[in-house]
Symmetry: C2
Subunit: 267 residues, 2 copies
């Protein structure tokens, strides 16, 4: 299936030799309204495009692997752009990093096949959600962890997590405000680890609906405080009703951790 970006890429290649350059970046989302460029609000995409345009002296449009919500972080985010630059691709990171603000950094820059598209080539993602589970508030990394005061039973949360695995209709785990063709998604794994006072919930899937990870986490927390039983996850999935699931967990605990471009890596 041809899409507009691919047609555009093909046309550009007829006119002149464009390189397709992939960036792996990391960002602290605390000060951004997510990845996607928008009016009146600062986004990671806007900052990156502005700095690439300044560096390469071309008008650069960056394609991202995912919209991330306002304040959500990325341990690894993949994006790509077309450029006629003569700078060797692997050197772009060294030239770009000093121009970027402290909370965005390029981990890697490489030339990729012209058909590579950060969004359409992506076959899966891993998100990680961090909870500080203790009575008193945090003093370190407050913008990157969700502080939860009440006791959470991690064993019960682990039992509940198993019900999400597999191919399901996740309509109950989607915030309104996004239009998608289908609400069916496959979750490969959910790993919950407690280390001292920090609980991490790692979710891998082929795709995620709007706020899906945060609603899954919010629902697992309801299990952790004994408000719902682990088995109730089945009922929520079956009824497809957002009102049955837990609240959307806050954005500051969420990190995009890994992006998969091959089904082999995802499984």
């Amino acid at each position: 299936m041809w899409n507009i970006d691919q047609i555009y890429s093909w046309r550009n290649n007829l006119v002149d030799k464009f390189k397709n350059i992939k960036l792996e970046i990391q960002y602290n989302g605390a000060n951004y309204y997510g990845w996607q460029k928008q009016r009146n609000h600062i986004s990671v995409q806007e900052v990156l495009q502005k700095k690439l345009t300044q560096l390469l002296k071309e008008n650069i449009e960056v394609i991202g692997c995912s919209r991330t919500d306002s304040k959500v972080h990325a341990l690894k985010y993949v994006c790509n752009f077309k450029s006629k630059t003569n700078i060797p691709c692997e050197k772009i990171k060294y030239a770009l990093n000093p121009l970027l603000p402290d909370d965005i950094v390029v981990l890697d820059s490489i030339e990729v096949d012209e058909m590579f598209h950060s969004r359409y080539s992506c076959v899966g993602k891993t998100y990680v959600y961090k909870i500080l589970s203790r009575e008193v508030r945090p003093v370190f990394g407050r913008e990157g962890i969700y502080h939860y005061k009440d006791y959470l039973c991690v064993d019960k949360m682990k039992v509940a997590a198993k019900y999400f695995i597999g191919k399901h209709d996740f309509n109950a785990f989607k915030s309104s405000g996004s239009s998608v063709k289908t609400t069916i998604r496959t979750i490969q794994s959910i790993n919950i680890i407690k280390k001292q006072q920090e609980i991490t919930i790692e979710v891998t899937g082929d795709g995620f609906l709007y706020n899906m990870v945060r609603i899954i986490v919010g629902t697992l927390i309801q299990v952790g405080i004994n408000k719902i039983e682990p088995e109730y996850i089945q009922t929520i999935l079956k009824n497809k009703d957002r009102k049955l699931a837990g609240p959307t967990a806050p954005a500051e605990g969420l990190y995009l951790k890994e992006i998969y471009f091959s089904k082999k890596d995802l499984l």
Copy 2:
């Protein structure tokens, strides 16, 4: 041996019933000139005393377990003070935390024996030093980690660490500007762990000279970049010459992690 604090405590107890209250606190040191109260610079001790005085409506003097340097953090710091308060000691943390700034928190407050003294009763400490070992700069928790760009050979650092274990004269690992009776200290253990891009160096000892942990870390880094061989640690210790040791590693990577009040816990 009686010291001035103990005599003071004894006298106070004759006059009226004072409680000896121990606090376990955690603080992010980024915005403080260390623990110790001083003129013209904000310290953790000053903030804590001011808030305790406000809460308890008595003039409170807090005794800390250790001076920590400017910008150094504490995962667990122990201090104590005398008070005639009627507030149950274990409730003080709930009353005090809302008064404290975001970067200081009380983990626990309990009444202890009147002879307990945070500094004199302390028989050992564990410090942890965090290094982000990667080419590109950090975007998360920049104020709590030391970013080191060049490759560090952790295996060599582990070999070097062993030479510090035991009772030695650590004169070469002391910054000038402090007067101590003896520069002999005992190090119980040094554990170096690499997890992805983060290296943590955990040092446990019966006491530490001024900047001792940071100079040990700075010297281990010299080993990690092959500037000195692990065996050279023996020469530095033997010569007792500060100039032979590595530079003092920056304060932002250092955390006081544990305080021991019983020799049994230390070993």
